[in-house]
Amino acid sequence: MRQTIIIGSGPAGYTAAIYAARAKLEPLLIASSVEAGGDLMTTTDVENYPGFPEGVMGPDLMAKFQEQAERFGTEVVMDDVTSVDLNGQIKKVTLGNGETHEALSVIFATGSAYRRLGLADEDRLSGHGVSWCATCDGFFFREKIIAVVGGGDSAMEEANFLTKFADKVYLIHRSNALRASKTMLERAQDNPKIEFLLNKTVEHIYGDEMVTGVGLVDTVDGTETTLDLSGVFIAIGADPRTHLIHGQLDVTSHGTIAVDGRSSRTNLPGVFAAGDVIDPSYRQAVTAAASGTVAALDAEHYLNSLPKDLVASAIVDVKPVAVPA
């Protein structure tokens, strides 16, 4: 049995692990098999994480997070959680490899999953011109005409990144109010390869084998237009990843895990949540990291309230990973 298990390996999960490990909670962190490192793994330049005045590549930043968590004795497992049993004092976490781990506390830092447009042809043409990952797939659209759908920072970043490859990038958004930060928005507006198409929704994605175009509807006057293009990158936000806890933890009207005030405490004792999975508003690497800190401190406080012999039974001998000097 463990004192604490952390589920998730983005900024919230790893920061919770750094604090928990330094508090000698010997955390086990379940990182995921293919999405370890979280959303920043598919981000290029991170320019707003404090401490990196020159910017830092997303995957490099997450490698540092992991190294820092392991340095203090976090055990990281590259597997997926398939189910959890959170009732009772001893929580159970089952992994894809079939193992079940027990712990006195669990921290959910499962983040969010990319939202889909919800069009029938979106799935069919996924991998044939429809993409959610500009850094993975931009390369295939050299000298092509493509579109990015969305109005936030992610959409602006993807549009700018994609102009390295594409001849033209349409930025399509359903309103004329863009959520993106001023810096990101101005960079996109100043980019001669980007053309903004505002107040437009994507109603169709056309193409038999490969994407050949999209059908747009103007949200103000209802006019329908067709654009010929060969790629559609979807960046319309994300939904909290809560499939593991349905029926066990309370969720909010936003779909995030409900927590008590500014704390990370869920409705069940010993169960905490941090990062994008509790945050419908800010969703930044640095706010997720801060939220992970809160969860680790709340878990430590909770463990201190438990009978000492129970906590003693959860102490394992985890050796810190040696970090090369």
Binding site: V34, E35, T42, C136
Partner: protein
């Protein structure tokens, strides 16, 4: 990242199309994070099913002709070849159980 055999534009016909084995080609690139994540999982599946499926990888950066021929626009893309034809396409990094289930017909 995968330790699988590298195939190239030059060797694709001999190693994949003309092979009498079932071959999974992992289309990947160094700059693709999900490709790095799925590589070791494919290695495991290959090692555990060596008599049934051979896993090879093709770097799309270095081998644009083959990537273009198979209309690759998203990676990781895994294509299973039997008798020179694509028998199955799997898009995106997935956990091992999900990949095994996608590949069930070839691993049976």
């Amino acid at each position: 990242m995968s330790n699988a055999l590298d195939v190239t534009d030059a060797t694709f016909a001999a190693e994949v199309l003309n092979s009498d084995k079932t071959i999974l080609v992992d289309f990947w690139a160094a700059w693709c994070g999900p490709c790095r994540a799925v590589g070791p999982i494919l290695d495991q599946i290959g090692a555990e099913n060596a008599d049934k499926i051979t896993i090879v990888k093709l770097n799309v950066d270095d081998n644009p002709q083959t990537a273009a021929k198979y209309q690759i626009t998203s990676i990781p893309m895994m294509k299973v070849f039997k008798g020179g034809k694509v028998a199955k396409s799997i898009l995106g990094a997935k956990p091992k159980p999900a990949l095994e289930s996608d590949l069930a017909e070839f691993l049976a």
